[in-house]
């Protein structure tokens, strides 16, 4: 799976493996039972005798690590690979181990419970802002009644991209990330302050104002559609209420996908790049990635295309 993704990536970029200077991989050993200490995919990503770094988190974090390697001036071209392989694990047991072993793990908290608490917090905030009746209608709306349930299927997947130094074509002009509090009771789960801070860092790096007029498309990593209103609010795309109002139709308008974990952010990035390649003129997209219970870690990348060939 990983080899096929890397092969497709290099073919797309018309590159061969010896032209790759360094590799960054993103995966989580607890979820797939294998990728601790770079043992499972070193050959598949062509990292033998190369500088390989492994990030235990969403693929966008690996992308940022790769970008920082290039910005340091020591590397010109870095391969970034993310994969999630959750079909082999007992997701509830594994995600319980992602919580602290003294308090939250002892209570048996899982990733899907955290998501459930977050969805409920968002629904309650929506109900308080709009009145019970409208939220009731929203909850029943078919576009997200399926995706905010607790039976989120995890799935497997692998993504790969090559980034290199330069300022032609599609440019990664800004990125930022942020980690929120670990204890679920220390956060307002109906908001996403971490994403607001991550986006602010990305806007500053790109030299953009916080206003969203220049961004044409958003590529979301969502585990449940209900996460869209607070996340759209956090990056300044629209208000919570506006996000809520457009929700029933969003499935058709906004690119969103939160799965598989760890590959999702990178998958969003690839979707964004493919759309930018089709774009004739100057165009800008925002890529969102996250991982951790109830979106604890948030990442934002800004891509810009001048419309030239790439």
């Amino acid at each position: 799976m990983v080899y096929r993704a890397v092969r497709a990536c290099l073919d797309d970029a018309s590159l061969t493996m010896p032209e790759i200077e360094a590799v960054v991989t993103a995966s989580a050993d607890l979820w797939d039972g294998k990728t601790a200490s770079n043992i499972a995919i070193t050959e598949a990503v062509g990292a033998v005798m190369k500088a390989e770094t492994r990030i235990s988190g969403d693929g966008l974090l690996a992308l940022m690590h790769g970008a920082m390697m290039i910005l340091s001036g020591h590397y010109q071209r870095v391969l970034v690979v993310a994969h999630g392989k959750c079909s082999e694990a007992d997701v509830d047991a594994v995600s319980n181990w992602c919580f602290d072993p003294v308090y939250q793990q002892t209570l048996g908290v899982t990733d899907s419970q955290a998501l459930s608490l977050q969805c409920q917090a968002i629904k309650m905030r929506a109900a308080e802002m709009t009145g019970e009746e409208s939220i009731g209608a929203l909850v029943r709306a078919p576009s997200w009644s399926d995706s905010c349930g607790l039976t989120v299927r995890q799935g497997d997947g692998a993504c790969a991209v090559v980034i290199e130094a330069g300022d032609d074509g599609i440019v990664l002009e800004g990125f930022g990330y942020d980690l929120d509090a670990h204890y679920l009771g220390d956060r307002d789960l109906s908001r996403c302050d971490g994403l607001a801070r991550a986006a602010k860092r990305a806007y500053e790096m790109a030299g953009l104002p916080d206003s969203q007029t220049d961004i044409n498309r958003h590529y979301w990593s969502l585990r449940a559609a209900l996460q869209l209103p607070p996340w759209a609010e956090a990056i300044g795309a629209c208000s919570f209420i506006e996000g809520l109002a457009t929700l029933p139709n969003e499935r058709h308008q906004i690119q969103w996908s939160g799965l598989p974990p760890f590959a999702a952010g990178m998958q969003r990035l690839i979707a964004g790049v493919k759309d930018l390649r089709e774009s004739p003129g100057s165009d800008r997209s925002l890529i969102h990635g996250c991982h951790g219970p109830a979106g604890q870690m948030q990442a934002v990348c800004l891509l810009h295309s001048d419309g030239g060939p790439c």
Binding site: M17, L30, E43, G46, V48, E88, A89, D90, A93, T106
Partner: protein, 166 residues
């Protein structure tokens, strides 16, 4: 509240996790061949001709998929060894292995890489690098990693055992 108690607490949790790990096409091919023919097979890179045992799907040096299977010898050479005096759990049985025992890096005849496995010998202190070993498979093969029981120490290379090397 008066803080005069210095009893420190511990959170005792046992990590009980399990995965249904797909062994992958390459290892599945290795086990199938082992079970059918009582033979070890390696994969060969068509570019650098390196033969991998355990078999890998991709040659790390050439970043090339490997589809050629190579039949390997029954004997091999110890290229690295250590004598263990500390009891550790044998991952095959879940029970401590009687000490002392020898762990070796074994290059099977025909392979370019090594396997790490137990070397069975009456005298652990006299096992040397370069000594010959023979693969011992269990009687009824099941097509998994437990099929290789250990490698039996044969002694220093003789002319005849050298001759069997490909």
């Amino acid at each position: 509240m008066q803080e005069n108690n210095s009893e420190y607490l511990f959170s005792s949790i046992t990590m009980d996790l399990s995965w249904n790990t797909d062994v992958g096409e390459t290892m599945a091919g290795f086990f199938q061949r082992l079970k059918a023919e009582r033979r070890l097979y390696g994969t060969r890179c068509s570019n650098c001709l390196r033969v991998y045992l355990p078999p890998r799907p991709v040659c790390g040096n050439c970043w090339q998929q490997m589809n050629d299977w190579v039949e390997l010898g029954e004997q091999g050479t110890i290229v690295g060894k250590t004598v263990c005096y500390y009891e550790i759990l044998d991952s095959m049985t879940g029970k401590p292995r009687t000490t002392p025992f020898v762990l070796g890096l074994i290059q099977i005849d025909g392979a370019d890489t090594t396997l790490n496995h137990f070397v069975e010998t009456p005298d652990p202190d006299h096992v040397s690098i370069g000594d010959r070993v023979e693969t011992v498979l269990r009687d009824t093969l099941q097509g998994n990693v437990g099929d290789i029981v250990h490698f039996q120490w044969l002694g220093p290379p003789t002319t005849s055992s050298q001759g069997s090397k490909k």
